[in-house]
Amino acid sequence: MFLFAVYALATLGVLVGAFVSPGFRAIAYAPLRDLIIPPPKPIVLDVLYSTEKAAWIDEGVRRFLTSGPRVEGRPIDIELSKSGSREMYLAVLDGDVEPDLISPASMLQISLLEDLSAARTDRFGGPVVDRRDTGTCRPVLNTPVVLVAWENRSDVLWGGNPNGQLWLRLHEAVTRETWEVYGHPEWGFIKFGQTNPLKSNSGFQSFLLMTYNYAEKSSGLSNEDILDAGYQAWYREFGRNVTQFGDSTGTFMEEIVAYGPSRYDIVAVYESTAIEHIDNAVARYGSSHGGLQVIYPPVTSLSDHPFCVLDAEWVEPEEAQAAKRFLDFLTDREMQELALHYGFRPVHEGVSLDQPGSPFGRYEGNGVRLNLPDQVEVPAGNVLNTLLEFWARNVQP
């Protein structure tokens, strides 16, 4: 018995020693280690984000956590969850999720969440986000919505110069149905794809841009503009002839490359998605079809990937503080340089698009531009909601 006691004590000593000594601590069995000497409770940030920036954000979280960030002595941990941009704000409104930080693809969704949450007095004490407070809510990456077309197609439609005619020509082409009208019966019917505005932000943005274009303005879009019968007939006709309203922007880009022009002539996607695949198209088809051409709308709308800390009862003050730390990290030079390599436009003014190795210079021949046209104004949440309602009732396939 005596010997047992001695050995037991010795074992315990070895164990405690092992857990305390840093070399052993790392490989020791975590639950037991933490039971003996509890570490400070981490602050867990629940982050909901839209998928287009997944590669960049995953790397960002890895780098952020490696730097050992702490708030009041407590380490920060991050739980990332992917979500569609619209799904994201609807889930917050319905109380299905309680994230600390959200990052949809664009300010459009923040604008909707701000307005719609203010109206939900049963659930919230006021708007859960404030898009004017740049300390808690600001864009971290920019990428405009663009059209990507096989060059021989875009030459026929726009002759390399879409100017103000981009959306009108697209409408005309899509509703004319076949390329025969343009002297190319061998290309079959005109195949245009964009995402469903109810499911994906890029589709929502191109829909908004077309609507602004019809109303011949770039700011102050109103409910009256959307309820206009001429506009509704015009857009409905377009919607009927769109080849595919898909769920995912990435899938369109992958398919236009994987299937070649037989599947899609033109798709509406993000500039960053297009940049990612320009070389793939060359590897697959060489110079036939002329490669992929990126076409910018005359007035654009940015997918600006805002990160916004929620002003809600479930967000503890330390969590809000940790969220702001993370937001600052993402907008720092290092992460912004990295964004450039993923084909995003950095928001950090010190990071130039025009630098060696930048994809923006490399793909100039494919129409990629350094300077962006002006942006349309982001309409108020209730106007955006009217737009989506119109789509859901009249265009939804």
Binding site: F4, Y7, A8, F189, G246, S262, A281
Partner: protein, 596 residues
Amino acid sequence: MDILKRRETMGRNWSCVGKELGRIGTRHQILRSMKGNGLMRRGLSYLALATMVSVVLLTGCGNLPLPGGKRVTITMIYGSEKEAWLVPLIEVFNSEGHETEAGATIFVEATPMGSIVSGDRIVEGTLKPTVWSPASSAYVPVTNASWLQKHGEDLVVGTPNDLVLSPVVIAMWRPMAEALGWPGESLGWADIAALATSEGGWAGYGYPEWGSFKFGHTHPDFSNSGLISVIAEAYAAADKPRDLTLADLQDPELKAFMADVESSVIHYGESTGFFATRMFERGPSYLSAAVMYENLIAAQEAKRIRGESNQPPVVAIYPEEGTAWSNHPYIILNAPWVSDEQRGAAEIFEAYLLAEPQQRLSVTYGFRPSDPGLPLSTPLDLEHGVDPTEPKTVLEVPSAEVVVGVQELWRSEVKKPVDVVVVMDTSGSMEGKKISSARSSLVDFIDLMDDRDRLQVILFSDEMITLTELSPLAEKRQEVRNRVSGVIEGGDTKLYSAVEFAYRELDAHGDPDHIRVIVVLTDGQDTASPITLPELTARIGAQSESGDATKIFTIAFGRAADREILQQIAEITGGRQYDSDPETIGEIYAEIATFF
């Protein structure tokens, strides 16, 4: 949700510690039972125990291998065209012991099947796979719509990923394609229709030595490429690339165009792969052109270039009116028989197939990888008869109701009718279960035929009795069903004479514009014919080089039948020999029916 997940992981770790301690307890008992009570010995045993506890706790038991792992099996039904790529990959995957999140080892079992018939059987509930990967998405909406109607929810949820891609093309021997103006001229369905109705076939194009134009595609009720063929014919006839409607299908001109194309078809069939094999084995005298996938042509050309095929080169014609893609979607079914564990396992297998090495490998089989980051390299080049810059356009996949409408139109009005002579052994050895199943399955076979088809039934034993002469089924269907149901057995087996008689009958009364088929069912060997096998094969093999000659399908019914002789009889005509018994005879008849 994520927080919950983390707690689960923690719980698992703790229970794992419990398990380990339990095992140590067992070891402890073993130690205690060791002989000898000396202080030293006991001390050593405690030391050993203490060391073990330390080791387990220090290293973390999660890393210790736990014996006796669970296994999860996923079943997959797939279009046979990707067999050459898929089957070796499944073997590798199974041997690598991939695991689910919960640690169960994944095992994949895959079966090839026609893409349309598999969808129909899933809806019926007679086929219950975890994963369904037909050759293309074209028929998926039809399958889903039927399922939805029956079960009130979707069978296919979301947009499934494509595994590999290959356009539907018309394979044609290069000299023949060149005679049509290829590669300078764009060719399409209209050219096929013109050839099909050309007086004297190839003679109208200056090549009388090639005989008639012999065309082939699979059966649109069973196989994806067959369905695509008839939809493409309808579009070409309607002269538009999209928005095919039910009203279009009523147009007499459309029907005439489709019937023209179909008139040159030598026979249909269940599997595109089978068609390709037939064409590449038998050469231009058997088939001038057939609808298949680009990958099959690239693979054949690679074989020819390696010196493994003596046929002339073959090229892919991308129909100028447009075509469709075979995209091999990977569909994890939203069906009650698919468990969450299987779903998870199926996702892991999917990720494996979509990973770069497996995608890259698909190119060697002539597929275009679905991964857009991979280039289209050899054999996807002009040297191998294919053009990676084609096709230029696709045809829009019509709505589910229009797809069904095209199938119905094909069946009832435009498909090439068939003249079938069934030769059935009624000798004494057929008694019992054999004769009863042969009777009932023949009735089912008759039900698979259309009213325009013509049928003759010959019974043979010592004598030959013509149960019904060659005439359209429309006027005699019920009567023939009744007569077949009353057939009885008795006597010897005059097999050769019966086959020869059937052949003569079809030669004399068969319509050269119909598909002509003899189906022979026998359970024994020839015991009484006045003619010999060489005499028979000399006679039936005389015209067999031509794809539109009479085909003989032979069924060896039970073990006593002489399979080798039956195979010889079938293959000399371009037909096929089957082994069967009372349990499988229905399936064999159904398979034969896919040829017409």
